[in-house]
């Protein structure tokens, strides 16, 4: 019996150590060697969640690269930014989507809730111990499962000798669905939530990181339908913006009017809407938006009538 217990314990220990060793080594290797390449012609990147992901068709904006990803919290975008900037010195400008639904507590779910199983396998090698420990404390079992998926992802990358994250770092996502009618008023119940201090803290980290590297950083708000503001009221968002991020220029594109048929719902553009908006945005850049002294006035002046 004693021998059985010892052997079983040892077998388990060796297996756990081997798995642990793989976990550390693969994360270390990927953290050191992961490649986040952006086309040399692109000097501007756009980060954020599904709004910019579906709004900026970067094939129509020669100087910009869209690396936004749906339901990606600043917590994860920060790590992406920390990889992209050092590897792509041509990037001089960073636009970070900052809209009404990104400060609310629901975004915590994007960090450790139901979106975690999709994020952690990708970003695990880049997270530090404090962050991993926080995720574990918030949601232990899914975090363990996400780490298992992460080891599988690492294993597959290493076996395939593919440490290139370029195609995984986000990008324009098109959708052909058309919103045919206005959203029923009954569904437009204003969200009344606490703020996500964590997500806001990581937005601050993104801003500081850009500044530290001498890269221009702007917070931007992409256009949505008016209904969006009924669900995510402006007041609290503006208060947070003015209190915590008043040192960063805020470029508000919400005045750009699109039709219902340009959206798939009240906040995400479809392919047609993205095309219209991206062409306009490209013209705006070409006309000197980034050089303008009062950028918001420049935007407002160029809004289509």
């Amino acid at each position: 019996m004693k021998n059985f217990l010892v052997q079983t314990f040892l077998a388990l220990l060796v297996s756990l150590l081997a798995t642990g060793a793989f976990y550390f080594l693969s994360n270390y290797l990927i953290e050191k060697r992961a490649r986040f390449a952006v086309d040399k012609a692109k000097s501007l990147i756009i980060l954020g969640h599904s709004h910019p992901e579906m709004a900026y068709n970067d094939s129509l904006i020669p100087s910009a690269k869209n690396v936004a990803s749906a339901a990606e919290a600043y917590f994860y975008s920060y790590h992406k930014l920390k990889k992209i900037l050092p590897q792509n010195s041509q990037i001089k400008t960073v636009l970070i989507e900052c809209t009404n639904n990104q400060f609310i507590a629901s975004t915590n779910d994007w960090i450790w809730g139901d979106k975690m199983p999709f994020r952690v396998p990708k970003y695990n090698p880049f997270l530090d111990w404090e962050e991993k420990s926080m995720l574990f404390q918030k949601n232990p079992i899914p975090f363990i499962n996400a780490n298992r998926s992460s080891m599988k992802a690492n294993f597959e990358r290493i076996i395939a000798l593919n440490l290139d994250y370029t195609s995984d770092m986000g990008g324009y996502g098109s959708n052909n669905h058309v919103l045919t009618d206005s959203v029923s008023g009954d569904l437009l119940v204003p969200v009344d939530e606490e703020r996500s201090e964590l997500n806001m803290r990581y937005l601050r980290k993104m801003i500081d990181y850009c500044k530290k590297r001498g890269v221009e950083v702007y917070l931007v708000r992409s256009p949505t339908l008016g209904e969006y503001y009924k669900i995510y009221p402006n007041q609290d968002f503006q208060d947070a913006l003015n209190t915590y991020f008043n040192d960063v220029p805020f470029l508000d594109f919400s005045g750009y009017k699109l039709h219902y048929s340009d959206f798939i719902d009240y906040e995400h553009m479809n392919r047609k809407g993205a095309r219209r908006y991206s062409l306009w945005f490209n013209n705006l850049l070409a006309s000197g938006l980034l050089q303008a002294s009062n950028k918001q006035a420049f935007i407002n002046k160029n809004l289509p009538s």
Partner: protein, 478 residues
């Protein structure tokens, strides 16, 4: 409690240590502890249904007790009927009540007679199909005087509720398992180590093979209208592998767990997908259920002793009843009937026992003929599994009509290369170990400890890396 859950990973070592260090003093202590652990195991899912197990245990214990004392045949028969009615009554109510009611309503409606009745919102108690058959076998064996009844209630309760096989088998015969509760178990190192190997392999089959195949099979079955013929064929094959990994994985874990507690359970799967014909497949698939139906239904009906028509009738009966045992749905009945149809030509031409041994025994690879036979048998089972997997007959026929109307000789839309490689490796290991009770048993023959441990670590890491998210066992639904 699921074998592939964290709860069980905590439960098992605690029960193991308490069993061997605390309850090990006496036989009664061991048996009593097994009952307590088993009731905790079952109650973890829903403690309310423990009363059902307890009631079933009491009824069959008392029936056995009375059968031992009763001399009159009439009274003995009546006691047996009490056991049959109580056990099948529970099963019938919980599993088949709504099915029969729905079909009665449909039948009356077709005849133009309005018939109204409300179905009930019944929760199927986990494992009811398994433990009712197990207790039933006790009463029948005592009635037939094949087994001495037990007067030890705790031993009997431990036999009925033995946690490793309580919820999904193997369905143990009282003649095999009950006597093991009359002898104090002592720890056997070799048996326990092999038990651990079998648990490891069972877990691999469940979380790496079955759960990963499930993701593809579920998607393809759910959206069959959108896929081409070859993808549907792949979906059916994935389900075939899923159900094998799922159920035989569970059986391996059940048998392995029993072994570390000093018990020997019946082998439930003997590498069925290496079968050369359907008769061999059914000797290797869910052996404890097949032999149960053989001994308690097929043989009492006359077995294969009568004329050809009687053989055909009996074969159809056991396959259809076996199908119906799996669930209250016409799809299971068709699945059973299809297997009977596959089986009949072999039975009629007396070739149903032509492949009794292990395929390609003593050889590394099968002959071309054997390979063709294996592939044909696998294809036939895959076809039948479509009915087993489908939600209803409409779904099954929809799937098959799409399959036959769409070109099959095109590339499948889904090509999960990694999973296919893992499946190929898995079947290679199973092939190498096909003469044993489980695939990893042959590891004991490897002299190098380092090599053995290297394989354990590899399997462990595969479970960690490729284990899909915790999923329920399919047979928990039955």
């Amino acid at each position: 409690m699921l074998f592939n859950s964290l709860d069980f990973a905590v439960f098992l070592p605690i029960v193991f240590l308490l069993y061997w260090f605390l309850a090990n003093k006496t036989l009664k202590g061991q048996n009593f502890f097994i009952v307590v652990a088993s009731y905790v195991f079952y109650g973890w899912w829903d403690w309310k249904f423990l009363s059902l197990i307890l009631f079933s245990t009491l009824v069959d214990y008392l029936v056995g007790y009375r059968l031992a004392k009763e001399k009159k045949q009439e009274s003995r028969k009546m006691l047996l009927w009490v056991s049959i009615l109580v056990n099948l009554g529970f099963l019938g109510f919980f599993k088949y009540y709504n099915f029969f009611l729905d079909n009665f309503i449909d039948a009356f409606t077709i005849l133009g007679i309005p018939f109204q009745a409300n179905t009930l919102n019944i929760i199927l108690p986990v494992g009811i199909s398994f433990y009712t058959f197990q207790t039933l076998s006790y009463s029948i064996d005592v009635y037939k005087r094949r087994l001495e009844p037990t007067y030890d209630f705790i031993a009997f309760a431990a036999f009925v509720s033995f946690f490793p096989q309580l919820v999904a088998g193997p369905i143990e015969r009282a003649t095999n398992l009950l006597p093991q509760f009359f002898k104090k178990r002592s720890f056997d190192y070799v048996k326990a180590v092999d038990g651990m190997r079998q648990i490891l392999w069972g877990l691999f089959k469940k979380v790496v093979i079955a759960d990963n195949c499930a993701e593809y099979a579920n998607e393809i079955f759910a959206n069959y209208q959108e896929h081409n013929g070859s993808t549907l064929a792949l979906g059916a094959a994935f389900f075939a592998i899923q159900i094998y990994g799922d159920f035989s994985g569970y059986s391996d874990m059940a048998i392995g767990t029993s072994r570390i507690f000093g018990f020997n359970l019946t082998q439930n799967f003997a590498f069925p997908y290496f079968s050369r014909d359907i008769a061999e497949f059914w000797r290797r698939w869910h052996i404890s259920l097949s032999t149960w139906f053989r001994d308690y239904l097929y043989i009492p009906l006359g077995g294969s002793k009568g004329g050809t028509w009687m053989k055909i009738r009996n074969t159809f009966i056991i396959f259809i009843v076996s199908g119906f045992w799996h669930g209250a749905n016409w799809t299971f009945i068709i699945w059973g009937a299809l297997n009977a149809i596959y089986f009949l030509p072999l039975l009629v031409t007396k070739r149903n026992r032509s492949n009794l041994g292990v395929v390609a025994e003593g050889r590394l690879l099968p002959s071309l003929k054997e390979l063709f036979q294996i592939a044909l048998t696998f294809s036939l089972t895959c076809f039948a599994w479509v009915f087993f997997r489908a939600e209803n007959l409409h779904h099954a026929f929809g799937f098959l009509s799409r399959f036959f109307s769409d070109p099959i000789f095109v590339m499948p839309e889904k090509r999960p290369v990694q999973l296919l490689i893992i499946i190929a490796l898995f079947f290679s290991v199973e092939w190498i170990g096909r003469s044993n009770k489980h695939a990893l048993e042959s590891l004991a023959k490897i002299n190098s400890k380092k090599m053995r441990w290297f394989i354990y670590v590899l399997v462990f890491m595969a479970i960690v890396f490729y284990g899909a998210r915790e999923q329920k066992f399919i047979y928990f639904n039955f």
